[in-house]
């Protein structure tokens, strides 16, 4: 009983870390541009796939493979910004959504050609031997996942709190027009947020692939879970994204542990629809919500 509980908790923590990283990427782009990026999951896929080649097949050391993977994925993210973000053109929300869906297909299709249609993984960073803890078997990789996520989120907090670029990016997310009047180069900040968002997804892919494996088409579902987590936490809120990611994973892990693993997606997506309807700001979201009819949002 305790063992089941611990096992579910540990798996929720590691999967939740991945969702949190994806949700952070989603929220970051949304905060600076109001774009929901359907190609977010492709960064996770790319991170995993590039590591499969560099670390798994070419046996590069981690300290060389990880930075190169990050650089490539970040460049892809910046390229995506060039197609999806077109200031000054009156493009509708629907157009941009469809552009990111197209980009997602293009990236995953390219990955299908560079690699293949098989499912891939690479060896965990520190072996497969499980550690026994309170009766549960913990794979060492899950410690890597949680640890690295904590480091990345911590670095992100420091970046937004104390660095001038982080503050500039935050200013853009609050009011793009005012930020540009204060001399902040908004397009550079948007470019940076796409790059950073891609890097976050890539980290998720790098640490998760040894546990969950990856194939070229896996990105879309991860992106959807990322949005759901971000919306659960409140779109545009960084703390919310992390909390949302973890909550979402706990919901999944405990549904599969205590109800049935086949219904985990059913439960989580029913919860998401309800969150959208009854708590459109999410847990930590901003005061105003664009997704809702004004008169439907209570207290406005």
């Amino acid at each position: 009983m305790i063992a089941d509980f611990t096992q579910a908790t540990v798996s929720a923590l590691s999967v939740g870390s991945m969702y949190a990283l994806i949700a952070l990427g989603v929220t970051l782009i949304y905060a600076t541009t109001n774009i929901i990026n359907f190609a977010q999951g492709e960064f996770v896929m790319l991170g995993g796939m590039i590591m499969v080649t560099l670390y798994g097949e070419l046996n590069w050391p981690l300290y060389m493979a990880i930075p190169l993977t990050l650089v490539i994925t970040t460049l892809v993210g910046m390229a995506l910004m060039k197609v999806a973000y077109q200031p000054g053109r009156s493009t509708s929300l629907i157009t941009i959504l469809i552009i990111t869906i197209g980009a997602s297909m293009a990236i995953s299709g390219t990955a299908q050609h560079i690699w293949d249609a098989d499912i891939h993984r690479f060896p965990p960073f520190s072996g497969d031997a499980p550690i026994s803890f309170l009766g549960a078997a913990i794979v060492p990789q899950s410690l890597w996942i949680v640890g690295l996520t904590v480091v990345v989120v911590g670095a992100l907090v420091l970046f937004f709190q104390f660095s001038i670029y982080g503050k500039a990016m935050k200013a853009c997310s609050i009011d793009r027009g005012a930020a540009s009047m204060l001399g902040i180069r908004v397009s550079a900040m948007v470019m940076a947020s796409f790059g950073l968002s891609a890097a976050l997804g890539c980290v998720a892919g790098i640490v998760m692939t040894p546990m969950t494996m990856i194939d070229y088409s896996g990105g879309m579902l991860l992106a959807i879970k990322g949005f759901s987590a971000a919306m659960l936490g409140g779109m545009g809120s960084f703390v919310g994204a992390v909390i949302g990611g973890l909550l979402f994973a706990f919901l999944e892990a405990f549904t599969s542990a205590y109800i049935s693993s086949s219904y985990k997606e059913l439960v989580t997506f029913i919860v998401i629809i309800n969150v959208l309807l009854f708590m459109p700001r999410g847990l930590m979201g901003p005061r105003t919500v664009e997704g809702f009819d004004d008169d439907e949002v209570l207290g406005q």
Partner: protein, 324 residues
């Protein structure tokens, strides 16, 4: 001026096109091309319904593959397990879909923009999971096979030719209905909702009610296609409810134009032709369609066909019915 011109044009073009479509097999005889044309008809039905919802009403929904699957599965289950006549099964299925669409629509249409897209997307995933998991009634991952073909009396319409004379007339009627609808008061109201909801509300329009009606209508279009598909192919699988199928139909609109009903048919024809005849192309389908979708949406946000049309007529004032 343009609107009335279009209205007459639509009806003027519809008659000869219908006559041509119905005469085609008589002129060209039986053949594999009929099979492809049947698929084009089915895709066009979904695309026309989606065109009304996305293009004319401005609500991005990603739930049409779910309703396609609901139509296909309810028709299959009713005729397989309860022994209903296929045509009766199809009619009951539309009722089921309409009721479901009313329920889902009146819940999710309180949302807008991204939120609506994600909510309808979640619904699609839920439907797919239920179809896979409720194996005792849906057959699970194996799907359902041996669905009886459409039949008239003792004559079974199990050939491509027989099905052709069911799906195309149905498509033509649905097409005429959609063409008339967008020129009616209802059509003008939903176009207004697309342009500016708040203004429509000031005019005293019950915006929410109209959105729900369009959603139900569009879902039933997808569901009719699904039911016909089930009896035409004789087999349904959970991939009918998949997200990639939903994206395929959005692609049809990107080619044919988001607010051009005729374009939906041409887009469906283009996509079906590309996937059907260019088999060498199959490997590159994902990349090519993805890149094409991005390029089309950047250059012609209202779709390839209307975009090219306007580009060719450059210099003339943009038609009033066209969006940005």
């Amino acid at each position: 001026m343009f609107d009335t011109y279009m209205k007459d044009m639509n009806r003027l073009v519809w008659l000869p096109v219908s006559a041509g479509v119905l005469a085609l097999p008589l002129l060209l005889g039986d053949g594999y091309y009929l099979n492809v044309l049947n698929f084009i008809a089915l895709y066009s039905m979904i695309a026309i319904g989606l065109c009304l919802l996305i293009g004319y009403c401005g609500q991005l929904s990603i739930s049409h593959s779910a309703f396609f699957a609901i139509g296909a599965y309810s028709s299959a289950i009713l005729s397989l397990r309860f022994g209903f006549h296929p045509f009766v099964a199809i009619l009951i299925s539309q009722l089921i879909s309409a009721v479901l669409a009313l329920g889902i629509g009146s819940v999710v249409l309180r949302l807008k923009g991204h939120y609506l897209a994600i909510a309808t997307l979640s619904f699609t995933i839920i439907v797919e999971v239920i179809i896979v998991e409720a194996a005792w009634v849906t057959g699970g991952l194996q799907g359902l096979s041996g669905i009886p073909p459409l039949s008239l009396g003792s004559m079974e319409l199990d050939t491509d030719l027989g099905v052709y004379y069911v799906v195309w007339p149905v498509l033509l009627l649905l097409l005429l209905f959609a063409l008339n609808l967008i020129d009616s008061r209802f059509g003008r109201v939903i176009k207004g909702i697309r342009e500016n909801e708040d203004v429509m509300r000031l005019f005293g329009v019950g915006v929410y009610g109209y959105k729900v009606k369009v959603f139900v209508l569009s879902s039933v279009y997808a569901s009719i296609a699904g039911s016909l598909y089930a009896h035409f192919i004789g087999f349904v699988s959970p991939s009918a409810a998949s997200l990639s199928f939903a994206i395929d139909i959005i692609m049809v609109l990107a080619f044919g134009g988001f607010n051009l009903i005729w374009g939906a048919m041409l887009g469906a024809a283009a996509i079906t032709y590309l996937t059907e005849y260019l088999t060498d192309f199959a490997d590159f389908k994902r990349v090519a369609f993805g890149v094409a979708l991005v390029v089309v949406m950047i250059i012609f946000p209202s779709g390839l066909l209307p975009g090219l049309q306007r580009w060719l007529k450059a210099g003339r004032r943009a038609p009033t019915g066209a969006q940005r």
